[in-house]
Amino acid sequence: MVTLTIDNQTVTVPAGTTVLEAAQKLGIVVPHLCYHKELGAVGSCRMCAVMIHKGTLTGLKMSCLIAVEEGMVVTTTDERSMALREQVGEWLMLNHPHDCPVCDEGGECQLQEMTIAVGHGRRRYTGKKHTYPNQDLGPFIAQEMNRCIHCYRCARTYKDYCGGRDFGVMGSRNRVTFGRFADGMLQSDFSGNLIDFCPTGVFTDRTFRFTSRFWDLQEADSVCSHCGVGCAVIPGGRLHQLQRVRSGTNAAVNGSFLCDRGRFGFDYGRHPERPRRARRDGQEVAVDVALEALMSDARALIDAEGPEAVLLLGSERASLESNWLLQRLAKELGCRVPVLSPHARRHQAAQAVAFDLSHQLASLADVRTADVAVVFGVDPLAEAPLLALALRQIVRQGGRVVVCDPRPVELPFAFEHQPLSPLALHELLGGGDMDGKHLRDLLRQAKQPVLVAGADLLGTAGLRHVHSLAQRIATDDRACPIYPVLAGANSFGAALLSLPEQDDLMTRLEGDHVRMMICLETDPLVEGPDGKPLGERLARLEKLVVFDYLPTAVAARADTFIPTCPPVEASGTFINSEGRLRRFERVLAPGASLAHKEDGAHPPRAFFLTQPDSEPLPAPRLLQRLLGGETSLAQIQAEMVMDRPRLAALPQLKAGEEGERVAATVARALPEEKLPEQPAGTLQLVVSPARYGSDLLSRYARQLTPRLTTACVYLHPEDAERHGVQEGDRVDLDTRFGRFTLPLALSETLARGCALVENSAALPEPIPGSGISFCRIGRGGANG
């Protein structure tokens, strides 16, 4: 710790802190542009000048570059540094196009703020302004190069932090620009961070172009619900329309970064077909009528046919509160406990994480600061994009990352890929061959090792192997935590709430005793592995009730449909993959959007008492109505804590804060699973989520369309040769999920003996995480 004096106030900060950060700690904002807490300082803007009176270096210095020293004396408000800062402000504005009124950054622009902070207000320079050409960077990012102040933050974000390769600094002298070599969509999955990190309006959100001003947006701290990472986001909307998402800050999870799926894939809630009215037998009805009818239906069925007659299905998309209230509802109705996920194997794997691994979970921040990471069965960019960024930071600091995965994993940094088929991966984890030893040495020698385990590919058995590996690696003075990768925003939460020895959905539906099913914010037809048989079984139900905010297939089939709200229209809690409670607050009230962008349109000229289309209610409130009696969210949470002591941190939780982890618990004793035998002549089927369009939300997020991929089968060239198929052929893939005819693509980095398909909007089946299975491949049209 070092103590220094800034503007006559003393402050004690850790050694290595810069003067700028020390001042910030005192609440003194030294104007700055190129410094960012995530990116560090490069000293290119020269705006943060302060006067150092006592220290190794004295005089006018850039506070972002000078580390604190014991006994240092600094002033930030003396004449010379103020004068310099004002001059810097003036020369940064020399070539600025002065177009703030038409710039989307206006109002949340650091350049505006800093220009005002340094006191530059009147242009004295009469010479001509430089101008630059612009580039078309695709549908997500708009560029206006004339606004650039050459702080290099974009290049440091895109290239250095996120590892993008198609963007950088171009040109020399005063011709320096920032962009791609040629026009075209930015390829990085983290391109959206340019918007947040560029302190000026050079890079702005094209999806938000000319939509609203920052100060008009309703914003609240929320959580991204596209994957299990649970990044902090700040969605913003106006006129009853969600209009953009920017990054929140959570040091333990995403820092200040987001992936493009989370940033641009927010518009599922404003899907034009989003069902906003309650329906019963094809007729629109009032929500309360539908609720009452559904309750009396359920009661009648249970009275007549016993507790098995009604099946409740929760989900990994629904909040912790919703799932818990669903369990309450089951108690109230007297039926069996709800199934909290339509995907049994995923759910079991999540339970392995929530129960067996709970005392050994790494946070994403732990991953970032590790020096060795071994990744088992995860394609980070597809399953947990921010994990890829965290892993990159290991490599940037000189650490090593090894990825053991059958897929042709691509990551924005140098890493060692060990293409292992799912069976080989399980064997490696179970037995430990040569490669295993090499990994073990690597981990043993690491100072801060971390393991990353993909629940989808590894399943319960694989996770438990990773667990015992971690226990073998860990010593008294060096932990070896595991970062698990779960699929849903609340997979962990749903797993934590359900009882470990639960049947899966299909087992419950066996026979004919289930007569009514209630689905809470899930579409089991596409979110579970058994779409086809389930579809047939649902047809035989007497009553199908769906609560959802998406126009899903199952919602279309429901007898009773009740509209709910997406997370931006509700408050609640998720538990992310690392077991961290993440509170989200309501951003907007539900209702028909009044934002019309067509020429000459305007909001209706009428007065409403209630906003049109504002019927949808958050699921917890609907469930409480079913239970008779609405209370506040806080009260539900208090009851939840009584019920589930592991959630003790729940009541103190605040949105926008780091969030406590759920309490750890002892591991359960589970029987070993046996690996299936591979039939001769088959390939192992690997189902991976596509980077975009695999999770249901991004499938309904139409803004992500430009990033969607087409479906194909990937084979290793050797396997292709062995099976007599060539790149580009249409091939038949016979799997236990049925036959798929798809074009073939070859990949050198795919594990041998595997066929890979990507689950996406173009190929909604098969579903990832369905366990090891085998497939046969043949030329299209051939039999077998």
Binding site: P97, C100, V102, T131, F210, K597, H602, R605
Partner: protein
């Protein structure tokens, strides 16, 4: 206290004299609407949206007027024309709320929103006082016949990039000359 006794007595009695005298004077009231008053040149009443000298809509839907408005009676939605020009898809001023303070005109960077002296806005239907863009947009420049925001602003909307008088041509970023 006693020093003021006479002043106070005088102060108490004087108004009686003044009011009595006034009783026989002609009132100063202007009998509106039969008589109309000559309004000062800078009188602030109904707002308009003006056009630039080239006939384009001046308003760029920057929301600054709505931010400045103390009673929040301006709302709008920006949108983009084919040439990249930002303009208001719709622009609404609720004159039932407007207090005619003129702060919006102070805030406007394009001189689009201006005041006129037309104060006779009273009516019985409040919705008639909710003015849309068609009601607000006029066909003249208002009080400034020369200003065109896009001639000052270098992002290439009305003129190609770098062609405004105070700008140089866009850089050739691939040039390697020192």
């Amino acid at each position: 206290m006693s020093r003021h006794v006479f002043r106070d007595i005088r102060g108490t009695l004087q108004p009686f004299w003044v009011t009595l005298r006034n009783l026989f004077r002609k009132p100063v009231t202007v009998q509106y609407p039969e008589q109309k008053q000559q309004l000062p040149e800078r009188y602030r009443a109904r707002l308009i949206l003006t056009r630039d000298p080239d006939g384009g809509e001046r308003c760029v839907a920057c929301h600054l007027c709505s931010a400045a408005c103390p009673v929040d009676c301006i709302s709008m939605q920006a949108t983009e024309a084919a040439d990249g020009r930002r303009y208001a898809a719709w622009f609404r001023i609720n004159f039932t709320r407007c207090i005619f303070c003129g702060l919006c005109t102070e805030a406007c960077p394009t001189k689009a929103i201006q005041v006129t002296a037309d104060f006779e806005l009273a009516g019985r239907d409040p919705l008639k006082l909710v003015y849309e863009k068609v009601d607000l947009l006029v066909d003249h420049c208002g009080n400034d016949n020369s200003y065109n925001f896009y001639h000052q602003t270098g992002i290439g909307v009305t003129a190609p990039r770098g062609e405004n008088p105070q700008e140089t041509k866009p850089m050739d970023v691939k040039d390697l000359m020192p």
